[in-house]
């Protein structure tokens, strides 16, 4: 589970990565794994520790879809909308997910590698295959609780 990132925890993460070659992505992943996003305090501390400008760091964070600058929602549903899933009904899943409750983020993703059992989605990190709109609707109901 993730929680607020204390200064000590942040310093420990930075310390464990600072001598690694090309440390930035592993460090950003570690920070996000610890608190769910990349907080302001981490931006300042990482820029200083890795001797890169804040602008460069923000540029990296914003380039990658995985990194977020604000706390995540309670749940996340990622629906694959790439070719294989598209050919097997992903757009109906996407439509079914449009009325999602406020505590569920619905995002598009391009391929989860589950193309042999399309259409696929991921709910809170769990891979789901051969989905249909009814099952998406059930997921959204459960998520609301």
């Amino acid at each position: 589970m993730t929680g607020p990132l204390t200064d000590e925890a942040l310093a420990a993460l930075i310390e464990s990565h600072r001598r690694q070659k090309g440390a930035l992505l592993p460090l950003l992943h570690a920070v996000q794994a610890a608190c769910g996003y990349i907080p302001e305090t981490a931006i300042a501390a990482i820029a200083k520790a890795l001797r890169i400008s804040r602008a460069e760091l923000e540029g990296v964070v914003s380039f990658y879809a995985d990194f977020r600058r604000s706390p995540p929602n309670l749940h996340r549903l990622r629906i694959c909308r790439a070719e294989s899933c598209r050919a097997t009904g992903s757009e109906a899943l996407w439509l079914a997910a449009q009325g999602a409750p406020a505590d569920i983020d619905v995002e598009a993703v391009y391929c989860l590698g589950a193309c042999a059992a399309s259409p696929a989605a991921e709910y809170d990190g769990r891979l789901l295959c051969r989905l249909d709109p009814a099952r998406v609707a059930r997921l959204l109901q459960e998520g609301k609780s």
């Binding site: 090309g22 992505l25 592993p26 990658y64 050919a87 391929c111 589950a114 193309c115 042999a116 295959c129």
Partner: protein, 514 residues
């Protein structure tokens, strides 16, 4: 012998219920006081049969699938432990036509071994290649590699030995081996299967490459959409190090090679090798202009051998059996085997590792079983940047040059089939949407052209009053993208768009006002 039941722990098999089936089986065995070992193995790649049970008995192995937890009692009543008859019984899985017609070299262990068991890996030919390399020396192996005819499996199909030679002959002795495991193309999942199911094959291949090109450090860059693959690989690296197959002294050679597993962060473009290198270095995954090639100046500015997962995983086979044995498979200039992945609307979606040569039609109809409903309308081979082909092209042999001559690509061998309900203009729109979302933004044709192209398709789909002009503009735009983009993302976008237009012009121009 104790009866053994194999159930896959592959992420897609688990998404289809393999964990629930394994738990139900274990509970039912305990309840009935039956003795059997339930082991979790890699996937066979027969996904329409997952969750698949394979029972190893004194009289042979028997398959059952697709099984649900609710089937367990009836399976046991029917004599599952002895391979008894049941509506879900498949007989010996090795004898299924889908597998009999394949030549599995790289995926020889698929469905048979526990992914993280080094013992299982060693028992089935693992590390024999590395040992043979150490015995024969690097120069001799390079000759074997050339004789094998291996070409890069990531899509570009560049002869492997040429890349190796150029890394090897650089003056700088700090060199790297990088595995591109950023398998982002829709329809492709062979890399995922290998990473999750047989990680030591990749690590052995990387060690072989590293010894030959003189690298002491390797990186595997795995896309973050594959969390199970990342976890498996990290554990495999730790175990291989503990057993002396990685680390300071590989297999008693006195040579060092270490591997670090890096997670991507949701950027498709990092599958392009120079963007991947930028990403490992800690920057935005933007494409580098070439020259210099990574072989000259790659990771951290050093000579770097970048290979796809399956190129590297082919090396243990080539090292163990020899280059000639590998060359024996395939045809013309396409040698060895290719791991194709069937996806989309096919009846039997799964992995097909076969020597080059069978036709596209055999792949789609004989292996894939045709469309789940209706007929196959078109197939896209080689990922979202591959061309659409129709049943008229089903005589095409699986061969890099034959596909290129038809204006298509074989690429890494993914095959996505669509049925008659598919709107091909919508697929062209998807290609632009995807390119716009994933463009790294460095070159203008890709960054801007992907957006403008999407707008043109939108106009056509809404029933453009100037359809002929819009189509001409679309063709001109894809030419510009092809000729002026910095990398394959923009540079290959013309394949899916133009082929859809070529085969299904009416779906673009005859939509009428809506």
């Amino acid at each position: 012998m104790t009866v053994r039941v194999r159930i896959s722990e592959d992420s897609v098999a688990c998404a289809l219920g393999a964990n629930e089936v394994a738990a139900a089986l274990a509970a039912a065995l305990a309840e009935r006081g039956l003795q059997a070992e339930v082991v979790r193995v890699s996937a066979r790649g027969l996904y329409w049969l997952e969750p698949l049970l394979e029972v190893d008995t004194d009289t042979g192995s028997f398959g059952y699938g697709p099984v649900t937890a609710a089937d367990i009692d009836s399976l046991l009543d029917a004599g599952l432990m002895q391979g008894g008859a049941h509506p879900l019984a498949l007989g010996p899985v090795d004898a299924l036509p889908y597998l009999v017609r394949q030549q599995r070299l790289v995926f020889a262990r698929a469905g048979l071994t526990r992914p993280l068991s080094l013992d299982d890996y060693l028992e089935r030919g693992g590390y024999a290649g590395l040992k043979r390399l150490l015995a024969m020396g690097e120069d001799a192996f390079l000759a074997e590699l050339e004789a094998s005819g291996l070409r890069g499996r990531g899509g570009a199909a560049f002869p492997a030995h040429i890349k190796w030679q150029s890394v090897r002959t650089q003056a700088d002795t700090e060199r790297y081996v990088v595995c591109n495991a950023d398998e982002g193309d829709s329809g492709a999942y062979a890399d995922r299967m290998l990473l999750e199911g047989d990680p030591y094959a990749l690590l052995e291949g990387m060690a072989i490459a590293a010894l030959c090109v003189g690298a002491e450090q390797g990186y595997v860059y795995v896309r973050s959409e594959y969390p199970q693959a990342i976890e498996k690989l990290r554990q495999a690296v730790a175990r291989a190090e503990a057993a002396g197959f990685l680390g300071g002294d590989i297999a008693g050679s006195g040579r060092a090679f270490r591997v670090e597993v890096r997670a991507g962060a949701g950027a498709y473009i990092c599958g392009e090798e120079s963007a991947l290198i930028e990403s490992i270095e800690g920057r935005r995954g933007q494409v580098r202009a070439r020259p210099p090639l990574p072989a000259v100046s790659g990771l951290f500015g050093k000579p770097t051998l970048v290979h796809n997962v399956l190129s590297l995983a082919s090396l243990p086979v080539i090292a163990r059996d020899g280059g000639a044995a590998f060359y024996h498979f395939g045809r013309e200039r396409s040698r060895g085997t290719l791991a194709l992945t069937l996806a989309g609307s096919l009846r039997q979606c799964g992995l097909v590792e076969t020597a080059f040569g069978p036709t596209l039609g055999e792949l789609v109809n004989d292996f894939g079983g045709g469309a789940r409903t209706g007929c196959v309308k078109a197939v896209q081979v080689g990922g979202p940047l591959g061309a659409w082909l129709t049943p008229d092209d089903f005589e095409l042999p699986l061969d890099y040059e034959a596909f290129a001559a038809r204006g298509a690509i074989l690429g890494h061998g993914s095959v996505v089939a669509v049925d008659e309900t598919c709107d091909m203009a919508g697929m062209a729109r998807l290609a632009f949407t995807f390119c716009a979302a994933e463009s790294c933004g460095k070159c203008t044709p890709c960054r801007v052209g992907s957006v403008r192209g999407g707008e043109i398709v939108d106009r056509l789909m809404a029933g453009s009053h100037h359809a002929a002009d819009d189509v001409a503009l679309l063709l001109e735009l894809t030419d510009t993208l092809r000729d002026a983009s910095l990398c394959a993302l923009g540079g290959m976008l013309h394949y899916p768009v133009r082929s859809a237009l070529e085969h299904f012009p009416g779906e673009f121009t005859e939509r009428g006002p809506q």
